[in-house]
């Protein structure tokens, strides 16, 4: 196990270097002087020169890359051109919002997607199977931001059941201290149930929107993995021994069908954590995705650069955890 994890970690180094190289080149591939692009056409040559010096753009390219790499290693991602705030502080400020939304979306996808896949597999080719699989196909074919807009129109504008945007209602405000930044957790541990309910109501629409794709994919993967397992000999043996069908499915089959499901959960969770740019934009959710998008609009390239590098690292880290969890779930892997 230790050797497997070590080998997996070693393989990570060239990938991380590649990510840093791509992100570094990103700024230099934008046509024109990055400093002029960021400051706009009206900037004086002196202002441009000051920014070039501040960003180290006057150094040779390989040296610039090495200093970029050094900054990354010391968690120094530069400062936002627009706000002057260090990128790392901006990320720490927004990360809880993205994480909270991703966790709730993933929970919805797990709680609905896995049982849906199991039921579809057990009732293969039945009406319920067809309905569920058509639904999941529709889920992956739909633009999430469109679904988000429709949900807002229905539940926020027409029925007025749920709020359309933000994390917390203005009428409620901060009656609790945002200690961790994960509002739902902060409100709960401080016993502020009014705020808790309000935060939860703000989470519903964006989380449901964001959960659509992972939910649809999880349902399909679970169904296909369950069908694979259900056709195996040991399941027939269990049935022959008279095990109740519910336990055959829930205990014997589901456990072994979970391996591909875990991979998909990891990959999808990694994507969600990467800041759901589109969903966060629709719901004005103050997370990483919306922040990167605003960085693009404002041509705040250190923000875009820092945001992308952070998201890619998180994505790689989640994939690493998935691979390691694989070794725990399937002991055969370490012998390969």
């Amino acid at each position: 196990m230790g050797r497997y994890i070590f080998a997996r970690l070693l393989r990570l180094i060239p990938v991380l270097l590649g990510i840093s190289l791509l992100v570094f080149l990103f700024l230099h591939l934008i046509p024109g002087d990055p400093a002029v692009t960021m400051l706009g056409d009206r900037a004086t040559p002196e202002q441009v020169e000051v920014l070039r010096e501040r960003m180290g753009l006057n150094e040779p390219l390989p040296l610039q890359y090495l200093s970029f790499l050094g900054s990354l290693l010391s968690f120094n991602l530069g400062t936002s051109i627009f706000t002057g705030v260090p990128i790392w502080d901006e990320i720490l400020l927004r990360w809880p919002a993205t994480f909270e939304l991703s966790v709730i979306a993933m929970l919805i996808a797990l709680v609905v997607g896995i049982p849906a896949g199991v039921i579809a597999a057990v009732r293969k080719n039945s009406l319920i199977d067809n309905v569920m699989m058509s639904g999941s196909l529709l889920g992956v074919s739909m633009p999430v931001y469109w679904l988000g807009l429709l949900l807002v129109y229905l539940f926020a504008v027409n029925l007025q059941w749920l709020p359309a945007s933000g994390r917390l209602g203005v009428d409620v405000g901060f009656t609790f201290a945002p200690i961790t930044g994960f509002f739902i957790f902060d409100a709960l541990i401080q016993g502020d149930f009014v705020a808790f309910g309000n935060i939860l109501s703000h989470l519903v629409l964006p989380a449901v929107t964001l959960s659509t794709i992972p939910l649809a994919i999880l349902a399909r993967i679970t169904r296909s993995a369950m069908l694979e397992v259900l056709s195996q000999d040991y399941i027939r043996t269990a049935r022959a021994k008279g095990v109740v069908e519910f336990w055959v499915v829930a205990k014997h089959a589901l456990k072994n069908a979970m391996l591909p499901v875990v991979t998909i959960v990891g990959l999808e969770f990694g994507t969600l954590l990467g800041g759901a740019i589109l969903t966060e934009t629709i719901f004005s959710w103050p997370g990483i995705g919306k922040w990167i998008y605003e960085g693009i609009l404002l041509r705040d390239y250190p923000v875009v650069q820092g945001g992308i590098v952070f998201v890619a690292f998180v994505f790689v880290l989640v994939n690493l955890l998935v691979d390691i969890s694989y070794a725990f779930l399937d002991p055969r892997i370490q012998y390969k």
């Binding site: 990510i19 791509l22 196909l137 739909m142 931001y145 469109w146 807009l149 429709l150 589109l278 994505f315």
Partner: protein
């Protein structure tokens, strides 16, 4: 001569097991029907719809709901939404097709080279694939468009680049299993050169899964292109594009007061993606019945 060959080819096509399986797959047939419908509609837009989406405006009809005059209603500039959706479909389809073609050509070439020659080429291509897959696809596409500037061509490039690693992985794995098979070993023993082996023997044998992947990729590409359009990084006005239409309605602040401005563009994005997903699923079921469930 041709009259005797043509029916036999048709018969052979009809008797092909994969074709028979496809003909029995309801979802595949629905997908094929939808794809043909969408393709024809996009192709014939200028013939069937006399309006010009870039210039024709009816300011009196601004933000009016669906009516006999404007079946899908009118947008914030008084443009007919049916016309915009119709022409937008053309743009979205062209973006989807061209970007997948780009991803396909580059990805399959690199996958063939990596799988056949192995060694350092495989190492470099594998590294490139891992690095590209480390970025969520929409972010990678956004980064490319930020570099090239928002336009239809940029979106094609961005979405095409995102597709490359998927084609590399698929082709490489196909080549790795095919290169050890007897028919490849035989032509190699007869002294065939690598380009001949790769393009005449290995590529044709790995075509089926590549076709399936390409069909599914058109759906994903259309979705990603529309996403870029929604963020304002896609086709620029006055070019009609479905994602850009949603963006106009959202940013213009009338998406909720005039819901038809978002309903129809989104519906047609969904229909297009669904068509290619159904078709891709049907093709996969037909070509690889064991792998499909």
């Amino acid at each position: 001569m041709t009259t005797t060959i043509a029916p036999s080819r048709l018969t052979r096509f009809k008797n092909n097991r994969a074709v028979q399986r496809f003909a029995e797959s309801t979802s595949g047939l629905i997908g094929l029907g939808l794809t043909i419908f969408i393709g024809l509609a996009a192709l014939l837009a200028p013939v069937l719809n006399p309006y010009d989406p870039t210039t024709d405006r009816d300011y009196a009809a601004r933000l009016q709901g669906p009516s006999w005059e404007h079946w899908f209603g009118a947008d914030g500039l008084g443009r007919d939404i049916l016309t915009l959706v119709w022409y937008g479909l053309r743009t979205s389809l062209v973006i989807g097709l061209v970007s997948v073609l780009l991803g396909l050509i580059i990805g399959v070439s690199l996958g063939l080279a990596a799988g056949y020659f192995r060694g350092w080429i495989e190492g470099v291509v594998g590294w490139l694939t891992d690095v590209m897959l480390a970025f969520p696809s929409i972010l990678l596409a956004i980064a490319v468009v930020t570099i090239t500037g928002p336009s239809v061509v940029s979106v094609m490039m961005a979405v095409g680049i995102v597709q490359i690693p998927k084609f590399i992985r698929l082709t490489r794995s196909m080549v790795l299993s095919l290169r050890e098979q007897e028919f490849v070993q035989t032509v190699r023993a007869f002294g065939a050169q690598p380009p001949r082996i790769i393009f005449l023997h290995i590529l044709p044998a790995s075509l089926a899964p590549i076709v399936v992947q390409s069909t599914l990729a058109i759906g994903t590409a259309t979705l990603e292109a529309a996403g870029l359009g929604f963020l304002g990084l896609g086709a620029q006005p006055p070019t009609p594009e479905l994602g850009t239409m949603l963006s106009d309605a959202f940013k213009g602040g009338y998406s909720l007061s005039a819901p038809w401005t978002i309903l129809f563009p989104g519906l047609f994005i969904t229909l297009t993606v669904l068509a290619f997903n159904l078709l891709g699923d049907g093709l996969r079921d037909a070509i690889d019945p064991k792998g499909s469930r």
